[in-house]
Symmetry: C2
Subunit: 274 residues, 2 copies
Amino acid sequence: MKVGYLGPSGSFTHNVAVKAFPKADRIPFANITEVIKSYEEGLVDYAIIPVENSIEGSVHETLDYLFHQTDISAIAEVIQPIKQQLLATAQDKPVGKIFSHPQAIAQGKKYIKSHYPHAQIEVTASTAYAARFIAEHPDKPYAAIAPVAAAKEYDLEIIGKDIQEIDENYTRFWVLGHEPYVFDLIKDTQKISLALTLPDNLPGALYKALSVFAWRGLDLTKIESRPLKTALGEYFFIVDVDNSNHDLVTFALEELRVLGITYNVMGMYDVYCL
Amino acid sequence: MKVGYLGPSGSFTHNVAVKAFPKADRIPFANITEVIKSYEEGLVDYAIIPVENSIEGSVHETLDYLFHQTDISAIAEVIQPIKQQLLATAQDKPVGKIFSHPQAIAQGKKYIKSHYPHAQIEVTASTAYAARFIAEHPDKPYAAIAPVAAAKEYDLEIIGKDIQEIDENYTRFWVLGHEPYVFDLIKDTQKISLALTLPDNLPGALYKALSVFAWRGLDLTKIESRPLKTALGEYFFIVDVDNSNHDLVTFALEELRVLGITYNVMGMYDVYCL
């Protein structure tokens, strides 16, 4: 079985792929669009991509692509705590330059300021790229902010542990596919993610759409607007609904349709926590 | 009078600054945070930053900074059509490499494929940087995708006019400040932008918040969730409300407060179109 994921090795997505599919042939791709395309083209059986981070918000590349371009849907969600480490090739080396993704740099700013106030900061495309880059230059005074998995992958030492400022940092990942799969992970809840397109202008239509869930006591865990890419002020809405009472959700969806509110099911899935 | 804007010269924000404050001393800053900070520190009297694009969606750096860090508010909104040009230093030169911001490259993809299928693509931090860069290398086979303003600013020729794929491409810009200012621009509507923090979980609270506007017939032109940066699934909501009946809006705001829904006014402003 083949599983595509947002690479390179040592990324947070890679860690999710290892935990969710320990025995699969896991193939890294350079960006989110490439991961989804690899699934569309039948190169892989499942694809794993990030959907939302608790600090940075939704990953638009994922949601926009899934809404605009494809009818693939999520079969599982994996929630991973995000913890950042300061990595280097050896313990006792000066740290002159620190490499990482802008979000990881932002998260480690306080730690760097107090421990390495004179270090230069260099931006990279991902945390895993930063780790790989410093591993390739062991003679240089380089360090990288990256996950534990990257330390293992590139044989680096952790010289600063869990340096992120906000402890409550989680990322949701989706497993895209068609075939059901039994994961050896701890199951949390069941959810359904919908993309709603409203027949006319706000607020009337959105208010009606929310009524359908509200009076049935169905919890929304997320609501977010994204531009339809037609005109300024036209949006579609991504709504995540608790799916533990699926009969009630079915009634709600039928009522949405009767009200003239179009929806696609972006995924109906179990949620697992790492 | 001094006006800070997201630079460099020749950017879309620069064009808004020129049109809105033709006689001011206009000062470019390297990123959105720097522009807002320049205002906070009293270096400028007004600051101009992008808020939302009809294709790409909200500019999170702007909204998150204004919600989390400051109590500055918008005194005007300027809507500018986004049109991209292919620029070069001379008409009759091969185009081997095209520089631009990823969004502009995405917008011009079809044009490039049909006119310059063999050109390499290089990503830059902004369209204006791309224009400046190719102007600095007149001997090279370079072209840039950038706005008309950048052609004027860096003395470049337009070798491909209005190359963007989607015609309905607009960006909203906010003028931040405290003092009212009379703009010599065409006035469209009046709006108020609110950031709502809900007392408990969705959907009940958001449904109540929308009810306050819905039953009064107050149009929402936008609603969007952004993470509170506390836990996964906790959001604040940015809501833009038509403010042409300000008395009704005042009642709605009072009722929000009584319902225990906290809000900040991110701006109460006239909307101008370029």
